[in-house]
């Protein structure tokens, strides 16, 4: 048995840590690339959302490398993410690839148990008692690493706009992530985190610079994965913008565990409440949060908002319509970037540069 999982930002570090600690054989799919996306595009159609294509590409590449068991997060209605597995299974079958599929349900329901029954029965045969006993420890280790990755990324977002040598932060951030990834024991992990943090803080910075503050909102996959959004976070940072976002892997895990009280998750409830002036109902996924966050960020004195969404995303399309009004009502520049399979990295760079110039101009006039 060889387990594989899709890419989502630095989620592979989390999944890898679980599998490694519990002693389950695994294959990390190759880093998402143009080839991954091309594979996904080839086996779907133009109006299916971009995350679907990227994830499908990840699976195809991993299966070709010898993986045989796919672990995929499930989600509930109303967004399409909840039916990814149904469609991707048929596509892989049609391609003649062999696989077993395990969907982690968003909530433990009878349907989830019933529909996953066959797969789990077989998996249980292949997993040893040791694997199962070590699994909770693996989860703990994975969670620790996840939190470490997020802390490092937040630090990088703070440091990046002030760096003197362009691109230095990104290089060091990658390095720091690899230390976290390579740690095998809680002790080495702790050392890795500390080392990573100081490594990032030691970057030569121009501390007198006051960067613009911009919030990134939108569909979670496009917000979290730099391969999907063509590094919007990094690009903005290197243009001298301090970026914030509230959509993190851990936030969504906590949300589905119904632990809404934990700091970052509770912030999202605040956003949700704020969106009620424009939206009378929970549209699903990130729609309401995107709108609410834009409103509150404007009140908090942010300079702008970047809204990311995949082409034809159902909930975010509603959000983007409403955000044009929010931008006018609250006088905050909002840039909506609709992402699809086209090679638009250069265009995004230009759009972001123009956006930052506009922020500068707005500040001068005010």
């Amino acid at each position: 048995m060889k387990v594989t999982f899709p890419h989502l930002g630095s989620m592979h570090i989390f999944c890898k840590a679980i599998a490694e600690t519990a002693g389950i054989p695994y294959i990390v799919p190759p880093e998402s690339s143009r080839k991954t996306l091309t594979l996904g595009v080839l086996h779907s159609n133009e109006c299916i959302c971009l995350p679907f294509k990227m994830i499908l590409g990840n699976f195809i590449e991993a299966l070709q490398m010898g993986a045989d068991t796919i672990v995929m997060v499930g989600s509930g209605p109303p967004c399409r993410l909840g039916l990814y597995d149904l469609v991707q299974k048929v596509i892989l079958e049609d391609m003649g690839l062999h696989y077993r599929w395990l969907t982690i349900p968003p909530r433990l329901t009878w349907q989830a148990i019933w529909k996953n029954h066959e797969e789990t029965k077989e998996l249980r045969k292949e997993l040893s008692a040791k694997n199962i006993l070590l699994f909770p420890y693996g989860l703990w280790m994975g969670w620790k690493k996840m939190m470490a990755c997020e802390a490092l990324e937040q630090l990088a977002m703070k440091v990046r706009p002030k760096e003197i040598k362009k691109g230095e932060t990104h290089k060091r951030f990658k390095k720091a992530l690899s230390w976290v990834d390579e740690a095998k024991t809680p002790k080495t992990l702790e050392e890795g985190i500390q080392k990573g943090k100081t490594f990032l803080q030691e970057i030569e910075q121009d501390r007198s610079r006051i960067p613009f503050k911009v919030a990134i909102v939108g569909e979670l996959y496009t917000v979290m994965d730099p391969h999907i959004n063509r590094g919007v976070e990094q690009k903005l940072g290197e243009l001298g913008v301090e970026v914030t976002r509230t959509s993190w892997f851990s936030t969504h895990i906590l949300r589905s565990l119904r632990k809404n009280k934990v700091d970052r998750a509770s912030e999202r409830i605040r956003f949700f409440e704020a969106s009620k002036a424009y939206l009378g109902y929970d549209v699903g996924a990130e729609c309401n949060v995107s709108i609410g966050e834009a409103i509150l960020r404007s009140k908090e004195g942010y300079d702008g908002v970047v809204h990311l969404m995949p082409f034809a995303c159902m909930p975010e399309t509603t959000a983007s319509g409403i955000l044009t009004k929010v931008a006018k009502d609250w006088d905050i520049p909002i840039l909506t970037l609709i992402l699809d399979e086209q090679e638009i990295e250069g265009r995004i760079q230009t759009l972001l540069e123009a956006f930052v110039e506009m922020l500068e101009w707005k500040k001068r006039v005010a």
């Binding site: 109006c47 009378g280 109902y281 159902m314 319509g321 044009t324």
Partner: protein
Amino acid sequence: MEEKGRLGIPRALMFYRYFPFWQTFFETLGWKVMVSGGVRQKEKIVYFEDSCLPMKLLVTHAIQLKDKVDHLFIPRLVSLHRIYIMCPKFRGAPDIVRLATERKVSIIDETIDLRKGGVSLRQSFLKIAEKLGATKQESKKAFLEAEKSFSQFQKEWMDRINRIPTEQLFEMDIPTPPEGREASWRVAFIGHPYNLFDTDINKDILTLTKKLEMEIITSDSLSEKEIDQEVFDLSKEIYWSSGREIVGSLFHFLSGEIDGVIFLTSFKCGIDALLQEFIKRRLKVRGGSSLPLLILSFDEHTGREGLMTRLEAFRDVMEQRKENFKCQSSHEVMNRR
């Protein structure tokens, strides 16, 4: 009864299924129901948001009506089934229209969520009536009337589709003619009701097919059980009621005694895009149907020539299949001799 005012219903989205119900309900309450006209060529579609064509048409129709009516009726359709839900865009539709009309017209956007139980439809409509200032008794009566006329309408629906021009399908004072034309082909039309019956979306494909002597069948003729039978064993439940209906009825018709299946989708419809891929792949993997299947995707283009060509080709395929079938059976007869 004196007229209480004007109530506007945009000719878009679920209008194409529930209009008879809505009309009777509001007219019994004493309101004059105003329906928007088509977009046709002169007036332009309003692009308030970058959504699918049906959603853009909702905004366009609502703007057409906004100065002529006292209220606009755009219910927030969360779920029209006891388990399954509608597309998420429906949840934000009233809000989008409110912003597009610059909050200048009153919008009745009562939430309709049938997952809450059997009486929730009634409760929602009683609340709507209350907002319009009707008494409890009046509203209950109106609801019963609406239910009655809707079920009458549903009985005649299949005949209506085949015997009345598409644009008059929902004009309730036009009775269904007792006799239709002869048709040589029976073709199932699958898709969201607005894709099937909105001539602004589908360029009046139904009239074209009627000209080609095709009889139209839709999923409305199937019972819920027949649809469920085709989809209950999927590895995951399709949770959109419309998506479920599309996949279920499509597989049902493909294994049935008809000549062909046409699936109408609109460009950028999230549900259709995903399920279309599922349908294609599953047919390839499982096989089992030799019926011709045509998938047509519509957007703002208005030309009908391409559509006509595809339909004619589709008819030719059906013809070829019938002939092959005849040859085959005569072969069998020969062999037996």
